[in-house]
Symmetry: C2
Subunit: 216 residues, 2 copies
DNA sequence: ACTTCAATTCTTCAAGTGTGCAATAGGGGG
DNA sequence: CCCCCTATTGCACACTTGAAGAATTGAAGT
């Protein structure tokens, strides 16, 4: 009755952790939170279920780590656009807004992922903390770009502007990700730039230079 | 060995269906999608689990019906504000926007509920259909209010305006619902009215009359 | 080559999952 | 008042779930 044991390789700790986390994220994205069972995660990571508990104290801890991982990546994606500091303030802001309203940021999978964790944001204090942090980092980034515009506004107005622009961007991101076929190509981007421009009193549509980088 | 049977009352079909649906919604709101098990739903509805399958062909069908129910209620809530047709177009629009950015529409529970179904929106065609329908009803409502403003704009601009305003409202609704403590009292409302006004080129803040109805 | 130790697998467990179905009892129609 | 219909219960089934721990393996150190 000696069933043969599956051969395996030892991997560096962080490699395995990352494989498990990314397997968990994939599953949540594809099948919602309930699809991310320990067994499914293990299988997708090419490993047996017990191993999860070797790297994480519980499944919940793995889930928390996954959320942190996801948000870190999103933050990094956003910051990436700012590395190119060329152009006037309007162009830089337009580039930032555009990045949030185009693939790969606009993406049904990401929306599903994000929604899958939203309940945790409300119930688990640690997850909530990560959420708030990510939100504020993004908004501060936006606010600093807005502050660079050639306008003279009070700090209160600046804050209100940042919150409002963040709102439009989030709302459009959500709708474009949820039901892309409802909008024409480039429509959401055009509407977003126009709206943010209207809120701030600048012409972002004209300031926007379409393809700073990207595939042909 | 005759175990005694729990006493029960027979109820009208629609009463029971509604009780089961509202139990399911409560559970999703409180504990996320995974909390809505047949047993938990039945218990909350004061009934045994087997009965669910008497009224619904499967648990999935109950979930779908629950989503439809939820969205119908939200649509009805929104339409309610429009029954009062008094005031100029600006005031009516402002009242509509305000309704979406204040309790009970802004509410962590509703956000949780909404997020709990979002995965279904992407995977289940029937749920997606309900989602799209609800979204379009809301946006058309908004668009008709915008069309009443004393401005002359092209149909394309009107559509773009409606999408943009819907975006701000959705985004702010989400953020205010997710982390209310990040904003001061009334701040989101003020920002929302200002932003929508800026997009449309009208002064909604001044047009807004604070309390059309509501508690003292 | 031998030991040692951590990494990984495998087995087990108790609880919980949706579904199918026979038995029962509540209550309206005769 | 009784009878019948069916709404409702209760339970069994086949699976899945997260967790725990014992057993086995690979590789690094000497």
């Amino acid at each position: 009755m000696t069933t043969e044991r599956r051969p395996y390789r030892r991997e560096a700790e962080d490699l395995r952790r990352e494989a498990l986390i990314s397997a968990a994220l994939d599953l949540v994205a594809e099948g919602g939170p309930k699809a991310a069972t320990v067994r499914a995660i293990a299988e997708k990571a090419g490993v047996t279920a017990g191993l999860i508990r070797h790297y994480f104290n519980s499944k919940d801890e793995l889930v928390r780590e996954s959320y942190r991982h996801l948000m870190d990546r999103m933050t990094a994606d956003n910051a990436l656009v700012l590395e190119d500091a060329s152009g006037n303030p309007e162009a830089r802001l337009a580039r930032f807004v555009a990045a949030s309203l185009l693939p790969p940021v606009v993406d049904p999978t990401r929306l599903g992922l994000w929604a899958g964790f939203l309940h945790g944001v409300q119930k688990d204090p640690q997850i909530r903390k990560v959420h708030v942090h990510t939100y504020l980092v993004y908004r501060d980034l936006l606010q600093s770009l807005i502050a660079d515009l050639p306008r003279a506004v009070s700090p209160e107005t600046l804050r209100a502007n940042a919150i409002a622009c963040n709102g439009v961007i989030d709302g459009l991101w959500m709708e474009a990700s949820a039901v892309p076929e409802m909008f024409e190509d480039g429509e959401i981007l055009r509407i977003g730039l126009t709206a943010v421009g209207a809120i701030l009193g600048v012409d972002l549509l004209r300031a926007h230079v379409p393809h700073p980088e990207g595939p042909t």
